[in-house]
């Protein structure tokens, strides 16, 4: 049979191709064809939503952002794996724990992890060392450290050509802003959605928003942080203009690249916690799903199981620097040899929590990100923001 697999072209389709080749040799008679469409999570979702709404059978397997399996399952667009994998619990337990949660809806495994991701705290090793400050464990420590260092660095007599920012994070109304909100919220031990029900803690939420707004007001973050998208954070940090940055794993490779002004001056750490809370990170990564309109669901599930196996996860980590979805691979010799910093990444990845697993995630996301953006832009107070957020979330997650 011919299987058509939808892969995003940003995630190294060339390397995936090799994985498919390996599959083809192991399963003669099955041919895998790659399809790509759009290069961002959003464009891919638009494309897939169109194709799937039209009940089109041309795709057999598709790669999904971690926030989407729930929605695809609810729409009936993906086929559960339970039958193929048998012992669901045992099978899923082998993955990083957050992924089991993200891919299991009402006891059904609706997708299998392809690779992992999470948000990290990047910091300027050199500057912390210069000012003799330890890597902050809490947001208030970070705030203090940032103030101290930026004051010194930007003060009179500094030789900097541009202003050093204390902290950069995502304030633009993009998906990243959802994580921005959730990081301190989660850190206070609260969840947004539990078993599909809204468990919104107004207090924690207010603190979260107030925290970020506080960074802006106190000058730790720049006043136009509401304009900052993920890659802006990366670029500014890379240009040497940022002390602390919250960002996904992809940034590491860039910071250490040849174009980088901060090569070898970068440290990576678990994100800070709220005072008295636990650190939490935001889970990213991508999953494989099988289309329910596929005419080759059997072969497709076999392929997905293969792609989601430790073997391929390792292969992709080594060859494409994609974070593995199995905890043990972070200590795997080959992996660490190929991508040394994965050693430091495991803590962060295990601290990562999945964003709310709900079919109506897109709506949840929309509510959170616009509120965060408005609060950061200063057109809404944190209190007002939380109030509005709660009201709207309640409507979505009754």
């Amino acid at each position: 049979a011919d299987l058509r697999v939808f892969v995003s072209s940003q995630h190294r389709p060339d390397v995936w191709r090799k994985a498919f080749d390996m599959f083809e040799t192991e399963h003669p008679g099955v041919k895998v064809k790659i399809e790509t469409g759009g290069n961002t999570s959003e464009l891919q979702a638009q494309y897939l939503n169109t194709v799937m709404s039209a009940k089109d059978s041309s795709l057999d397997v598709m790669i999904l952002d971690v926030i989407r399996p729930a929605q695809f399952a609810a729409a009936g667009w993906t086929v559960p794996f339970n039958y193929t994998i048998g012992d669901t619990k045992g099978f899923m337990a082998k993955y990083l724990p957050a992924y089991a949660g993200a891919n299991t809806i009402d006891g059904k495994v609706v997708a299998l992890p392809a690779f992992a991701d999470a948000m990290f705290l990047y910091y300027r090793k050199d500057l912390l060392e210069k000012h003799n400050i330890a890597v902050p464990k809490t947001w208030s420590e970070l705030s203090a450290a940032a103030k101290k260092i930026t004051d010194a660095e930007n003060g009179s007599g500094s030789s900097r050509s541009s202003v050093l920012q204390g902290l950069s994070f995502q304030g633009r109304a993009i998906e990243g802003a959802v994580c921005t909100f959730l990081l301190p919220y989660w850190s206070q031990g609260k969840d947004l959605v539990t078993n599909g029900k809204l468990t919104f803690d107004k207090d924690a939420a207010t603190k979260s928003l107030a925290l970020w707004k506080g960074f802006v007001d106190s000058g730790v973050a720049k006043p136009n942080i509401a304009e900052v998208a993920t890659d802006d954070t990366r670029k500014e940090f890379q240009a040497g203009d940022v002390l602390f940055a919250v960002n996904w794993s992809y940034a590491w490779g860039q910071f250490q690249g040849d174009q980088s002004a901060v090569k070898d001056k970068v440290g990576v750490a678990v994100l800070p916690a709220m005072d008295g809370g636990k650190p939490a990170s935001c889970l990213g990564g991508w999953e494989w799903g099988v289309s329910s309109y596929s005419k080759n669901q059997g072969d497709a599930q076999t392929l997905v199981k293969y792609l989601s196996s430790p073997k391929i996860s390792e292969f992709m980590a080594v060859n494409a620097a994609l974070l593995p979805v199995f905890p043990e691979l972070y200590k795997d010799e080959d992996v660490v040899k190929a991508v040394p910093w994965f050693g430091q990444a495991q803590d962060v990845v295990t601290s990562a929590k999945a964003r709310p697993v709900t079919p109506r995630y897109n709506e949840v996301s929309e509510i959170i990100r616009t509120t965060v953006n408005a609060v950061l832009a200063g057109t809404m107070t944190p209190d007002k923001g939380v109030e509005q957020m709660e009201a709207r979330l309640q409507r979505v997650l009754r």
Binding site: Q10, E35, G38, N39, T50, D56, T230, D231, Q259
Partner: protein
């Protein structure tokens, strides 16, 4: 009664310096963003983050162009876009010329109603019709073909082109058409041999609009043609960006490669088509 209406010579705005100044502002308004993209395409990424920002590239490099061509099959995108836009423009012009003629010249009872209906059609945002359109294209077996884009693009531009042409056709003296009919043309013969050539500025404008509409369109192109060999330019250019990365210089280079030749082409074409036209056939 000669030539088209370049304003006849008087002192106002004919002074060369003043005219140059006015032209300069005009050009600046239109070209500034394009120039900015051009400059950007010659800069390295770090230069973009320089504060205060730089205008002219400090260390011009063609590397971005190299990447634009090597990272993605840019020429292929261009070719696809060009062909899709060209074919849909020709088809649009043909269909809307016929319709416009019927509306402008034949005494139709429900003329206004038909006209409103045609316009009404364009009041539906395509976004909302994406899924049913996808189903239609699949049913017609057109997914991953140029036709899947050409058909909706015709419809996309049809209303505006029709309306433009109606207003132009109405401006052509009927006697010219009459003369052609007496000379032995059918109505359609008169339409294509006399009315259309005389409406050249209108036909041309409609053509540009149709072309650019097709050239610009993103959503359908993304949704209907997943085959990489059929990507159009707007979709293709998004491929330079990643989930998190937005390499402005490379994208700028791709944009320059994409826009400038087309705009230049249109301009050259326009000079030729429109400037050859003079009036002077009729007393009035």
């Amino acid at each position: 009664m000669t030539a088209v209406s370049t304003t006849s010579g008087t002192s106002f705005l004919t002074g060369r310096p003043l005219r140059l100044a006015v032209g300069g502002i005009l050009i600046l308004n239109g070209l500034f963003p394009a120039l900015w993209i051009l400059f950007t395409s010659l800069k390295g990424e770090p230069e973009l983050l320089r504060k205060p920002i730089t205008w002219l590239p400090q260390a011009p490099t063609l590397e971005n162009y190299l990447r634009a061509f090597t990272d993605q099959p840019l020429l292929l995108f261009l070719f696809n876009s060009f062909m899709v836009a060209l074919l849909s423009t020709i088809a649009t012009l043909f269909v809307s010329t016929l319709a416009a003629y019927a509306l402008a010249r034949l005494n139709l009872r429900f003329r206004d109603l038909i006209l409103s209906a045609i316009i009404a059609v364009s009041t539906f945002p395509l976004v909302t019709l994406l899924v049913p359109l996808f189903e239609i294209m699949r049913a017609l077996g057109l997914l991953n073909t140029w036709a899947a884009l050409i058909l909706p693009y015709i419809v996309l531009s049809l209303p505006v082109c029709t309306l433009i042409l109606v207003s132009f056709f109405e401006g052509i003296p009927r006697d010219l058409e009459n003369a052609a009919m007496v000379d032995g043309c059918t109505r359609l013969g008169a339409l294509f041999k006399v009315v259309v050539p005389l409406s050249a500025p209108g036909v041309f404008t409609a053509g540009i609009l149709a072309f650019v509409n097709a050239w610009d369109e993103f959503l359908l192109a993304l949704s209907f043609n997943s085959n990489p060999a059929l990507r159009t330019l707007p979709v293709g250019i998004t491929l330079y960006q990643g989930e998190f990365a937005f390499p402005w210089p490379v994208i700028s280079a791709a944009l320059i490669v994409g826009i400038v030749p087309v705009a230049v082409l249109i301009v050259i074409f326009q000079e030729r088509v429109v400037s050859g036209l003079t009036s002077g056939g009729i007393k009035g």
